[in-house]
């Protein structure tokens, strides 16, 4: 969160993992319609994000599901439409392929098709990202696919504060939200407001590092890489934004920054073609075209599945060096 946002608040240092859990737990305490389900969820789910919640809330609130993603999401839609607020854990985001109908055709379209007759207050958690040598089917970043779908909101926080604040907003949202977590930043630490009323609204970006010469819009793991790269290039003043929400997207914050800097780098771990990068760039072209002083630069995965061999994973997965080179190319 920006220094401004944090200025008047009491904060504590939390990891992304703990912040997510805090957010879920607070919403479960506040609203007993919140219902958590997923594979091994009673045991904390993948990467132990929900550890302890089954002990605290019991089987009525936290349940293991069989390996049935289509049922998890489809039934999540049905349960959401009939009065509860499911939080469905899909675990690795690559598994969304198994239940894409339930995301695209059910969660995304139900309300619209039925003339607004029912809300779908469903949150789906999905864990993205390369870097653990988990190979092609456990390392993907698929949020561009999902943010593309009409009727679906999507978030992908890069800090503990955003993780907690957005989790609370996602669970409270009357609309379906897919909540993307990056598996390599669960241990990332940062200040989180202690005030229980704290949330991050869907659709608000934040300036994580202020600067004047280049704007970097960076998500998830690459937010950290972008901040590192920004500190590296001490002759250039770099502003780094975390969009936090992918959809709705805070166009204004991004365009305002580019109007100031005149230069744009977009860093996101999605495959480069037809995705998040293109959306950010297009919105900037629409709203800040005349402010641009240099060609925009994209940092992402060059349209490959993620390879297993460490030497190859390092090759295709972007890091701070790639961001640094992108900054240089705008100068």
């Amino acid at each position: 969160m920006s220094a401004e946002e944090l200025a008047d608040r009491q904060t504590e240092t939390r990891t992304v993992r703990d912040a997510l859990r805090d957010g879920i737990r607070e919403e479960m305490l506040a609203d007993d319609r919140v219902f958590v389900m997923g594979q091994d969820e009673e045991d904390g789910g993948s990467f132990e994000v929900t550890a302890g919640l089954h002990d605290e809330f019991g089987f009525d609130r936290v349940r293991n599901t069989p390996i049935s993603e289509a049922a998890q999401v489809g039934a999540g839609v049905g349960a959401a439409a009939t009065g509860i607020r499911p939080l469905v854990n899909l675990s690795f985001s690559d598994f969304i392929g198994v239940c894409f109908d339930q995301v695209m055709n059910q969660a995304g379209k139900l309300r619209y098709m039925f003339g607004g007759a029912s809300n779908v207050p469903l949150t789906i958690r999905a864990i993205e990202g390369a870097g653990l040598n988990a190979a092609a089917q456990h390392s993907g970043t698929v949020h561009s696919l999902v943010a593309h779908l009409p009727g679906i909101k999507a978030v992908a926080p890069g800090t503990p504060a955003a993780a907690k604040g957005l989790m609370k907003s996602a669970i409270r949202s009357e609309d379906p939200v897919v909540f993307f977590e990056n598996k390599t930043i669960y241990e990332r630490r940062g200040p989180v407001p202690t005030d229980e009323a704290f949330t991050v609204p869907l659709g608000e970006a934040t300036v994580e590092r202020a600067g004047d010469d280049v704007t970097i819009v960076a998500t998830q793991r690459l937010l950290g890489e972008a901040i590192a790269a920004a500190s590296d290039v001490d002759d250039v003043s770099v502003e780094v934004l975390d969009p936090r929400s992918l959809y709705p997207l805070d166009t204004e914050a991004i365009a305002d920054s580019v109007k100031k800097t005149g230069r744009l780098v977009v860093a996101d771990e999605s495959p480069l073609s037809y995705g998040f990068h293109a959306e950010i760039v297009t919105r900037v072209l629409e709203d800040a075209f005349w402010s641009l002083d240099a060609p925009v630069q994209r940092v992402g995965v060059p349209d490959t599945p993620i390879p297993f061999a460490p030497s190859q994973e390092d090759e295709v997965v972007p890091d701070a060096d790639d961001v640094r080179r992108a900054i240089r190319r705008t100068i």
């Binding site: 390996i67 040598n133 490959t304």
Partner: protein, 327 residues
């Protein structure tokens, strides 16, 4: 079975020492299912597997040195290090691929059955899947399709009682998964997965059925995994006593050694010699994998397509460019 056991002992140790990257899922305890089933197949038959694929791969005849190199992410691995433990494949040996997307092995096996049927081939497909996978929709769709089209496929559910940390009862409302065969109108066979000869016999009969045009069979092998779901799993969901009991009472290797000894088919030093041979093979595999070259980083851009798309290189070249962008 000895080879699988010993190979995975090495994988366990090399993984613990950080020599093997990523995630590995060991099949120790389940060797008789892999060996009994693959032993019933011909070389031309195709096998599809799961995230727990080392046993199936070795039993289907994959080279242990290459397999370990693949697990190390090295160039001479079956997939040149691009797949690793969870994506082992070797089509020449009839290994159509490990599939860590739970359930996905089953439609792929059905697909092999379609090829066999429409080309009039004399081979069949065999799909391994876990008990947990049976909760996935694509498993049912694929078996139903094979049943409806009378495809030459054998489905082998390895029921080891757990999916990750979840027990059978948390996922299924029936005791025997083979009972589902009735809903597809095909035979369902339950077999003791710790008894290699029983598995062999059951799968042989199922294969024969498949090849004689009578369609698929669903085999449920009751078995047990000794190690955690993945290496590093703390296993809070089961007791050490339970694991010990299976190892002591139901070990597929020890029990078969006894059977063979009783029949006087294993004599003198034969077992000792076999163990020594296996040790030598896996030691050589470790040396081979360690010494093997890493794949070239740029090879990460190969094999995305048969006919490469220029977009990939375009993206890469732009990202690697150092200087400013010309006007």
């Amino acid at each position: 079975m000895l080879l699988i056991r010993e190979f995975e002992n090495r994988v366990r140790d090399r993984f613990a020492d950080d020599e093997i990257p990523g995630f590995v899922h060991l099949s120790q305890g389940q060797e008789a299912v892999a060996v009994g089933a693959c032993g019933a197949l011909a070389e031309a038959d195709y096998v599809t597997s799961t995230h727990r694929a080392h046993g199936h791969s070795l039993a289907k005849g994959l080279d242990p040195e290459q397999l370990l190199a693949e697990l190390y992410g090295k160039e001479p691995g079956q997939s040149n290090g691009r797949g690793g433990s969870m994506h082992v494949a070797d089509l020449e040996e009839g290994m159509l691929g490990a599939q860590p997307i739970v359930g996905a092995s089953v439609p792929l096996g059905t697909g092999a059955g379609i090829t066999a049927q429409v080309t009039g081939a004399d081979w069949c497909g065999l799909a391994f899947c876990g008990d947990g996978s049976v909760a996935a929709g694509q498993v049912h769709e694929a078996i139903n399709l094979a049943a409806t089209w009378t495809l030459p496929v054998v489905y082998v559910i390895e029921n080891n009682g757990y999916s990750e940390g979840m027990t059978h009862d948390e996922q299924h409302n029936i005791d025997d998964l083979a009972a589902m065969a009735a809903s597809y109108g095909i035979p369902g066979e339950i077999v003791d997965g710790q008894d290699v000869e029983a598995v062999h016999e059951t799968v042989s009969a199922a294969r024969e059925r498949a090849l004689s045009g009578e369609g698929p069979t669903l085999v449920e092998a009751k078995t047990y995994r000794y190690r955690g779901h993945f290496e590093g799993d703390e296993e809070p969901y089961r007791s050490e006593a339970e694991v010990d009991e299976w190892m002591a009472e139901r070990d597929p290797i020890e029990n078969y050694v006894e059977v063979l000894a009783e029949r006087e088919e294993l004599e003198g030093d034969e077992l000792t010699e076999m163990r020594a041979d296996v040790e030598a093979v896996v030691d050589a595999a470790v040396r081979f994998a360690r010494d093997a070259d890493e794949p070239a980083p740029e090879a990460a851009y190969d094999d995305i397509f048969v006919d490469p798309a220029p977009d990939v290189q375009r993206h890469r070249n732009r990202m690697k460019k150092d200087g400013g962008v010309s006007r």
